[in-house]
Symmetry: C2
């Protein structure tokens, strides 16, 4: 399984992905699920994937192959939403080409974000069916994979005005919570940070043995525990002495 999330903030975009993949519990490996593509000076894309690993890799290979052609590609689209539709079409085609042998197991889901010069930076969730949604303005985040464990924190803490520094802490806390509750999600983690208007993405890998990662996890889980003791005392009708 997988956990990827993307945030769209006033300051920029933030992407975070785990790297754990598994085909059964005895075949666990590490694969990059976050990819940066810069097919021109006027555009940059960040792609995150969940679902069938073979499908996501074939889709990525097709995306890169198409860049060298005259046809539709991430270099030729005029708008971000067209990039999302193009990615959705490739994704559907690859899954369909393996459907006879794999059925629904061949499907994949993507997050696509970035900016094309002159347009607002944005993030999209691209479904296996080939269609997409934007993030909402009220809760400007999207998730794919094991999205439930770390969702509440995003609902509470992700707003457009949040700065990238705070948002990175939110995203990492959501990630370490997910990894703690679900063995199929794990480090190293890949982050990508896009500051609006720069058309340039900072990529960061956070290794499993990163001292900051352990510090953050410890602090976050201790904070959760402390929170219980800070809650208002139970009224006596709720729990008699």
């Amino acid at each position: 399984m997988t956990y990827c999330l993307a945030l769209r903030l006033n300051e920029g975009l933030l992407f975070l992905s785990d790297t754990r993949t598994n085909a059964g519990v005895d075949n666990i490996s590490t694969f990059r699920k976050l990819h940066v593509l810069q097919p021109g000076d006027d555009r940059v894309f960040v792609l995150q994937s969940a679902g069938n690993l073979a499908t996501t890799q074939e889709v990525l290979d097709l995306l890169r192959r198409d860049l060298a052609t005259e046809g539709e590609s991430l270099a030729s689209v005029n708008h971000l939403f067209e990039a999302a539709l193009y990615l959705g079409r490739l994704n559907r085609q690859v899954a369909a080409s393996h459907q006879a042998s794999l059925g629904a197991d061949a499907t994949a889901t993507f997050l696509l974000g970035g900016q094309i010069a002159g347009e607002r930076p944005d993030i999209f969730l691209v479904y296996p069916e080939g269609n997409y949604i934007h993030a909402s303005d009220d809760l400007p985040f999207l998730q794919i994979g094991e999205s439930k464990y770390g969702k509440v924190l995003l609902e509470v803490a992700v707003r457009q005005h949040v700065d990238l520094r705070t948002a990175t802490k939110v995203a990492l806390s959501s990630m370490v919570s997910t990894a703690r509750a679900n063995i199929s999600v794990g480090p190293p983690y890949d982050a990508a940070i896009y500051r609006n208007g720069t058309l340039d993405v900072e990529e960061i890998r956070i290794e499993a043995n990163s001292p900051y990662l352990s510090e953050l996890g410890e602090a976050w889980f201790r904070h959760l525990l402390d929170g219980i003791h800070d809650l208002p005392p139970l009224p006596s009708e709720l729990l008699p002495e």
Copy 2:
């Protein structure tokens, strides 16, 4: 959907269930999913259910009908695990009787807890297939229904030595987190508290408009938010200024 959880602590057992049911988004209702059965002075059971509402109600009706017979019932079993197996058999039979029309949609999952005099109090998860598991000694909780949203907190905070008062706050925080992230889980909430050896269960309903519930939710979500600011500062290699 549903969220039910049960905790097995040194002091006693704690059960918490939501009440929301839905058949599509336009048919939402409130049904009790937590039931206390005391079929003798030497035993008490708490039952929580998730899955097909019709199946869970039919299983409950059968459990109660069997109490008036000479055959196997919650009154006749000698051990808690036999109660779990008996419940599992009824559950499987009811689901099987509706399988032709409903398929897997007819299945239900139960948490069963309580004490039979002379035995250790315990909690069980009873699967649609009719088998069961105990809670583990290391993480002495079980969940059914929408279990992912509120799992991390339980993993962090539920240990055998935790007192019932603290455990009630943990369970409620896990519940309000789940309800915030998933509209299919909601109040009123039913709690049952069993103090070991008493053979008597305290039942508490927490209404949707309970002032304590809003206080607790506000405090918990504010605490989550505050936690982000208390995390160690991001090192510069992780996010350059």
